[in-house]
Amino acid sequence: MLELRINGFGGQGSVTLAHLLAQAALEKGEQGQALPFFGVERRGAPVRAAVRMSPTTIHAHSQCELPDYVVVMSEKLTKEAVNEGITKFGTVIINAPQAVAVENHPTWQVDADAIAREAGLFSADGPFINIPLFGAVCRVLNIPQNIMEQTILNKWPGNNGERNLGAAGKAYNTVTQIRG
């Protein structure tokens, strides 16, 4: 069973990212689970969500305390997110224009803010970074690009889907491993 935790701030779309990843697992013929932690919900507060993927039935219903992957929605949270728990050689995926690799952990970096803005995916509250991050995480998890794309089109049939595909695809192809 693969376990992944998303650490972000309220309003960044962590819940939708978790849902997309769980749906991608189903799309590739596995079981998926998205279990967001609902705290006292307010914009800007630290939030987290658990994602699990497994070829067999998932029985776990706790938050991921020791995940194999940690997705950091905002660079500022990197230290806090890693300190919250990760497996010994677990992988960290950071949204930042230029990230500093996490010591002892394979680290990937993607500039989700820039990709979202470039694709016109933003509102007055900021860019929709969960779409490019979905693409980036799929790449890191070796989920084929067509599975990633199909998951997006299932969720957003039509024009929004097309626009999201562009941003997710760009992230899929530009996410960079900065520590092996």
Partner: protein
């Protein structure tokens, strides 16, 4: 023959889809976190014509159950949902549903009780309604929530007793998981239309639940007590026939995992019991013969099935997510001890209260708790 469809959905929405496929007639509703999304989904289904039912928005849970009682007495198939303090606010009318022998089905999304306020899962709410005369299931997965609601309608309507289907707030209600939807014709075959023996009908006026003298009242209460116990074979039959039709099985009155040769048995309900399967695997890897016994039915308490399932000389570790105030532990432990007394003197029962107010219960934490309990 149409085949089953697999979708991704939350536990709360799985509940709403089960209610839709049960073809309910009336849904009184009042929102309370984390149950709100069930009511939102059902009111949307009624609004857009997917579900031909009457949705009755009310001003509070006492009225919600009162509307459910009235609609059920008029012969309708009725569903409502609540949580925590909403369930407590219904308390008086819960008795009216069971005493009136009305087969209402309700989901209670388990959440800790005020005060102080909390939004997250524990089991004080449902267990505190033990003496209302409702049958109570406790579910440990989204799929089980879906399956159990359909089984609950069948049992309720066979024996005219209301049924509460409980599952954890957030850990199930807001958890997105794969959900298998059997073809509607299979569900219709399992759950035929509700045909009550009796109903309130303005064309043939009659009165209902009048004042009774003791000689009439006492037999009514005795009958309710007897019939709740008599629901056990119906619960088993419903689970078996649901399996025959859909292929899905969540256990009947109990569910077990690696129990046959177990020396240490975890005993718990709801989502923590699902996670406990992983704790059992951890303990087995450490060389401890551990197993799980999950009562899927809390009321009637599955006494005989528990007594026959527990291996000889087992140590039973009851993990309660509630308090039995006035006693040092939780309610499940107390129930278990009372049924074992004088019948299984070989069994040792140990108890801890954990996970109150939604404290995260991980597989590693619970495995460590069980290990620590072994040394007590």
């Amino acid at each position: 023959m149409k085949s089953a469809q697999v979708i991704m959905d939350t536990g709360a929405h799985a509940a709403a889809l089960a209610v839709k496929s049960a073809r309910v007639d009336v849904i009184p509703g009042y929102p309370i976190t984390p149950q709100t999304s069930i009511m939102e989904a059902l009111s949307a289904m009624v609004e857009n014509g997917e579900l031909h039912a009457r949705f009755i928005p009310v001003e509070g849970e006492h009225s919600s159950m009162a509307a459910a009682v009235a609609a059920s007495a008029a012969g309708a198939r009725v569903f409502t949902a609540t949580s925590a303090n909403g369930l407590l606010y219904m308390h008086e009318v819960l008795h009216m549903a069971s005493g009136g022998r009305l087969p209402v089905v309700m989901c209670n999304v388990n959440r800790g009780i005020f005060a102080p306020w909390t939004l997250w899962a524990d089991h004080q709410d449902s267990f505190s309604q033990r003496d209302t005369g409702w049958i109570q299931y406790h579910c440990s997965s989204n799929q089980e929530v879906f399956n159990t609601i359909l089984q609950a309608f069948r049992v309720a309507e066979q024996i005219n007793i209301p049924v509460m289907v409980n599952f954890d707030g957030f850990a199930i209600s807001h958890c997105l998981m794969p959900l298998t939807l059997p073809p509607q014709e299979d569900i219709d075959r399992f759950l035929p239309p509700h045909e009550p023996e009796w109903r309130l009908d303005p064309a043939q006026p009659s009165s209902f639940s009048n004042v009774t003298n003791a000689p009439e009242y006492a037999p009514f209460r005795q009958m309710l007590s007897d019939d709740i116990i008599a629901a056990i074979p119906l619960v088993k039959q419903a689970a078996q026939e649901y399996k025959d039709i859909t292929g899905m099985w969540d256990g009947d009155t109990i569910d077990t995992y690696r129990l046959e040769d177990a020396e240490v048995v975890a005993f718990a309900v709801n989502s923590m019991a699902a996670e406990l399967r992983l704790s059992i695997d951890i303990l087995r890897e450490q060389g401890i013969k551990a197993g799980l016994l999950r009562p899927r039915l809390y009321l009637p308490f599955p006494t005989e099935d528990i007594i026959s399932a527990l291996p000889q000389n087992a140590q039973v570790m009851v993990l309660d997510r509630n308090y039995n105030f006035g006693h040092p532990g939780g309610i499940l432990a107390s129930e278990l001890k009372s049924v074992l007394f004088g019948r299984r003197n070989d069994i040792t029962v140990k108890n801890r209260v954990i996970g109150i107010g939604g404290i995260d219960l991980t597989r590693r934490f619970m495995a460590a708790e069980i290990r620590a309990m072994m040394d007590e």
